[in-house]
């Protein structure tokens, strides 16, 4: 089966592999520690690990878009900021 119609590139492949690896890692984490570790963080509503991953990924997308729109095309610093943001989300939200 050919997937050439999907116009794959190496960067987009790496991007999706990372996303799927994160989701798979969450599945493994859930298997060994079920329940999703719900807690109420600084946003004052209950979040599980899955919620925190979702907030991290969505936030990372907007951080990168804001960087592109306001600063420039070099996204390495935006990626670093997104990682710091995700660590913050998993620690405090």
């Amino acid at each position: 089966m050919s997937f050439s119609w999907m116009a794959w590139t190496l960067p987009t492949t790496l991007f999706f592999v990372t996303i799927f690896a994160l989701i798979a890692a969450m599945g493994i984490w859930e298997y060994f520690s079920p329940g999703g570790a719900p807690r109420v963080g600084i946003l004052r509503f209950e979040t599980t690990r899955g919620d925190r991953l979702f907030i991290s990924l969505l936030g990372a997308a907007f951080i990168n878009l804001a960087w592109l729109g306001l600063i420039g095309p070099n996204l390495w610093w935006a990626l670093a900021l997104a990682v710091v943001y995700a660590v913050g989300v998993f620690r405090f939200v």
Binding site: T9, T12, F45, L58, L68
Partner: protein
């Protein structure tokens, strides 16, 4: 008692996950791939990096369409939600009136979107349309083809006519599920009509209202067919919402790269807004 977890249940959702993979995930991945490339057809692609995103984010055309779309969604929610609640509250709860009202309310929902657009396009015409002609006879200068305000009013009234029924039916379902005991208790306490609404009916409708707000926001934010049929995005660009602009870019101009970048930004905005709505409404539900 400690809660038990059985992860084998995940196998039952596997078929749905596969369906979502083929119907949503794979097309979305393709759009992401297109968004970083340029093509001139013949399935040949050239790397463009993040250029299309930069172009979209610095485009006045995109921000103008986004502002129009947000304004449209806010107006739609502000009109349809209170109106839907009001009609649902005043619908009969028993007797012959129930099926009659339910059928009448369902009718606009059964009409295909392009037919709704065509109905309103003819209805609003100054030369032959019932609405347009009547307004002209009354001396009101109404012409949705020429005047941006008239075009907006027409598109909004059309959407309210088409979709308020959905809010009504959802609210009505919430209302009829309230046991009579609540109303009897309120009557004994001498509660006013407003108190019954505020402390019994509104809290019981919260879940269906959440669904109504989410559905109406997402639908109105993605609206395409009806305004396209009625105004074609005009006059000028006054009713060019994001989806209309996107189709112009992708199909009209065949600019697949910018259109894909715009689709992703559009998708992320809808995802963020829906998540905010859902979180705010469900967390306040838990507090109650």
């Amino acid at each position: 008692m400690e809660k038990t977890y059985n992860n084998k249940a995940w196998f039952f959702v596997l078929p749905v996950l596969l369906l979502v993979l083929f119907s949503a995930a794979i097309p979305l991945m393709t759009v992401v791939n297109y968004s970083v490339q340029d093509t001139f057809g013949n399935n040949e692609f050239f790397w463009a990096g993040t250029g299309w995103f930069t172009e979209i984010l610095n485009s006045d055309r995109f921000w103008a369409a986004l502002q129009r779309n947000l304004l449209f969604s806010v107006i739609i929610l502000a009109l349809e939600i209170p109106l839907g609640i009001f009609i649902a509250l005043n619908m009969p709860k028993k007797g012959l009136g129930v099926p009659v009202c339910l059928v009448l309310m369902s009718l606009p929902l059964l009409i295909p979107w392009n037919v709704v657009g065509t109905i309103w396009q003819v209805f609003g015409r100054v030369d032959i349309g019932l609405l347009g002609r009547t307004l002209a006879i009354l001396g009101i200068d109404y012409n949705y083809v020429r005047d941006p305000l008239d075009a907006w009013v027409t598109v909004i009234v059309m959407d309210v006519w088409h979709w308020t029924s959905l809010v009504v039916l959802l609210c009505y379902a919430g209302l009829v599920s309230i046991p009579d005991a609540y109303y009897q208790a309120a009557k004994i306490d001498g509660a006013s009509r407003w108190s019954v609404f505020r402390f019994i009916q509104l809290p019981k409708m919260k879940r269906v209202l959440l669904i109504a707000v989410l559905l109406r926001f997402m639908d109105s934010f993605m609206i395409y067919t009806e305004p396209f049929v009625v105004t074609g995005g005009g006059p000028g660009n006054s009713t060019t919402f994001l989806s209309i602009d996107l189709v112009k870019m992708a199909v009209g101009q065949f600019d697949l790269g910018p259109a894909a970048a715009m689709s992703i930004v559009y998708f992320l905005i809808i995802l963020l807004m829906s998540w905010i709505f859902y979180t705010v409404m469900t967390s306040s539900d838990k507090d109650a």
